[in-house]
């Protein structure tokens, strides 16, 4: 029995599978456009239909991100977001929501600067369930992945179109919670994935693991989420949500009265998409 058996992430994917629908994973950048609004958005996500939350830890050099998430990161940092504040958001979220899984997503340096052990302890205490750290490959597992698992936190690995069958076992070895399949070679929120090729890749990965496979990078609409969700256990949407935040802001990048509702509407739409995924397939 591993310390990460039966986490909130496991339970949520299992519950969605039981309903015969894909899990909707929604990404927002912590502190975008400001701490208070961002917390309000975070708290509104489950009610709008998000099953799992991916909370971006802002970093000055987000090398895997497209323009939308780069800009969100810059807004958050300009508003003074820090790792402590990001963890405090999770803590505040947990006061009213004990069930919705939260993963922190980002880059290694802000974690390393915080101190790996302190970070894992504080993240666990705040109620974080999983980590996605883009620039930590399996080759560097001893850094954070193994300690995270010991601390009871899922370490979710990205598999990509360049991860071939020979490499997949290394990528999957210490992965838990789910496998995040990156649907394109490229940065977030840019190219549109080819649903047919994604389905092939998901089937290929399923041959190597019992873990659920969620698909992200480039999924922007309810229709796409629905199509990809026919075959994948989960669908991740990020840039589209972050863009909804951006479009609601005033000229000085400040939140307006439509900011939170814009995100809620988009997430509700995406949720309808994933709920319809398998029923459409049956038609």
């Amino acid at each position: 029995m591993s310390p990460t058996d039966g986490t909130r992430i496991d339970s949520r994917f299992a519950a969605c599978a039981k309903e015969n629908r894909p899990t909707l994973v929604t990404f927002i950048t912590a502190g975008d456009p400001d701490l208070e609004t961002s917390l309000e958005i975070l708290k509104a996500l489950p009610g709008a239909g998000a099953d799992v939350i991916e909370l971006g830890m802002p970093f000055s050099d987000p090398m895997a991100e497209g323009p939308m998430i780069q800009l969100a990161t810059q807004r958050a940092l300009a508003a003074g977001q820090t790792m402590k504040k990001t963890l405090s958001m999770v803590h505040a979220f947990r006061e009213t929501d004990a069930d919705t899984p939260i993963m922190l997503m980002g880059y290694y340096n802000p974690i390393y600067a915080y101190g790996n052990d302190t970070f894992l302890k504080d993240a666990r205490e705040a109620g974080v369930d999983g980590l996605i750290v883009v620039d930590l490959s399996p080759e560097e597992d001893s850094e954070l992945c193994i300690p995270a698992i010991k601390a009871g936190i899922n370490f979710i690995r990205l598999a990509t179109p360049t991860t071939d069958d020979a490499r997949l076992p290394a990528v999957l070895a210490n992965t838990s919670g789910f496998v995040y399949y990156v649907s394109i070679t490229g940065i977030t929120g840019t190219a549109t994935p080819d649903a047919h090729r994604v389905a092939e890749a998901v089937t290929r990965i399923k041959g190597h693991t019992k873990l659920p496979v969620a698909v992200g990078f480039g999924v922007k609409s309810a229709a796409q989420a629905s199509e990809i969700g026919r075959n994948a256990a989960g669908v991740v949407v990020g840039s589209a949500i972050v863009n909804a935040v951006r479009e609601s802001l005033d000229a000085q990048n400040r939140a307006t009265e439509t900011t939170v509702s814009a995100v809620k509407e988009l997430v509700a739409d995406l949720a309808r998409g994933v709920h319809a995924a398998r029923s459409q397939a049956a038609e």
């Binding site: 050099d61 090398m63 340096n109 802000p110 490959s137 990509t160 991860t163 990156v182 070679t185 940065i187």
Partner: protein, 404 residues
């Protein structure tokens, strides 16, 4: 640490680490490419045909060996140690960058890639990359910070004439760090056909090792040349350090000679208080960026500073991982030189030797100005003139008040 205890020259270890530094911190999409590159480089190293092709290019295309020149007037002016200049500025394209570009382009050809991308700060690496792409018939895209495009205009024109597409990067402060982020975004998008020609001894393994090996020709030649001129090794080596490729190239063949003092010169910018400098080793702390663990300029929350230097080529908040290791074990001493000191040294070398150094190299000359007078007349300093200063005449001319 698997480096042998009796040598400092066997790094990195099998996983690409120099002590705690180095490593492979990249997105999964790039991992298979980096592993492929590592294999390809190992195979190339074992292939005499590869070495022969490179040596032929170094000799007939670059013009190697570069001279080791006794700077008689500078020595007399400073009144202390004998000063020799390792004249990398005389290479084809005007800097040491060509050594690395030739090594990598021949490797890219062996792997079968068909498109080259590169990042550049001062434009020296961009020009060298565009040059080898012209010579070997590759399309070439160079990412360059928008600020640098402006202050290094002559090199931008050269790259364009050589057929490269220069893409100005406006993210961040528009300098080398931002250009590298954008190059990585290109690479992750175009993995099938694209080779990333990194310009300095940094990035994920095997780049720091590979770039060092290509640049180590500088140090190997220096050993032979100084033995011929003086019959002994120098007392001190001095080189400028941004990412640190010319420096590691000069230093590496001397690491196991304890009597040779080795000094790397970082850009002190406007001073080490605050963030208007690029002295990663003197004022930064270890972190992870652009594929490796190394000293970085960063705030307490792990956000990376943009850095500042009068020299675009030193304007980078990190440094090659082998330098971080050499710093921590105390083998190499790293010192900062301020913008104004570099500017004075730029003018001094120009006036007394008739050699216009790049602003990067002027930082090393400024350190010579500080230490040569404190040394005996029979002592020897070798300083790396890593590049020529033609590209900087507008920047310097503006500061000195010339009507351009």
């Amino acid at each position: 640490m698997s480096q042998k205890p009796n040598t400092l020259r066997s790094g990195p270890d099998d996983t690409g680490h120099f002590g705690i530094f180095g490593g492979r911190f990249v997105a999964e999409t790039l991992m298979p490419l980096i592993l492929e590159l590592e294999k390809a480089y190992e195979a190339a190293k074992a292939d005499p045909a590869y070495a022969a092709e490179l040596e032929n290019l170094n000799t007939h295309y670059t013009g190697r060996p570069s001279p080791l020149y006794f700077a008689e007037r500078l020595t007399g002016e400073l009144g202390g140690a004998k000063i020799y200049l390792k004249r990398e500025e005389l290479n084809h394209t005007g800097s040491h960058k060509i050594n690395n570009c030739l090594g990598q382009i021949v490797l890219a050809k062996r792997i079968g890639k068909t498109r080259i991308i590169a990042e550049t700060g001062a434009g020296q690496h961009g020009v060298a990359a565009a040059t080898v792409c012209a010579r070997f018939s590759f399309p070439c895209v160079v990412y360059m910070g928008a600020t640098d495009v402006e202050r290094q205009a002559p090199n931008v024109v050269r790259m364009k004439m050589l057929g490269a597409e220069v893409i100005p990067v406006t993210a961040g402060a528009g300098t080398l760090k931002d250009a590298m982020n954008e190059a990585l975004r290109d690479w992750v998008t175009n993995v099938e056909d694209t080779y990333y020609l990194i310009g300095t001894a940094a990035g994920p393994h095997p780049y720091p090792e590979m770039v060092r090996d290509f640049q180590a020709v500088i140090g190997r030649e220096t050993r032979e040349q100084i033995m011929q001129a003086e019959g002994r090794l120098p007392d001190m080596l001095i080189a400028p350090v941004g990412g640190g490729s010319n420096a590691i190239g000069l230093f590496h063949p001397f690491l196991d000679d304890p009597d040779v003092q080795i000094v790397g010169v970082e850009a002190g910018g406007l001073g080490l208080d605050g963030d208007k400098h690029c002295a990663s080793l003197n004022a930064g702390k270890p972190g992870v960026l652009h594929g490796n663990r190394t000293y970085l300029l960063q705030d307490g929350d792990g956000q990376i500073y943009e850095g500042h230097s009068i020299s675009a080529g030193l304007d980078y908040p990190g440094i090659g991982p082998e330098h971080s290791w050499l710093n921590d074990i105390g083998r190499v001493k790293y010192v900062p030189i301020m913008d104004d000191e570099a500017l004075d040294a730029f003018q001094l070398l120009t006036r007394v030797e008739g050699i216009i150094p790049a602003l990067e190299s002027a930082h090393a000359v400024a350190q010579v100005v500080k230490v040569a007078p404190t040394m005996d007349k029979d002592q020897i300093i070798v300083v790396s003139i890593s590049g020529r200063g033609d590209k900087d005449i507008f920047t310097v001319g503006k500061i000195l008040g010339y009507n351009l």
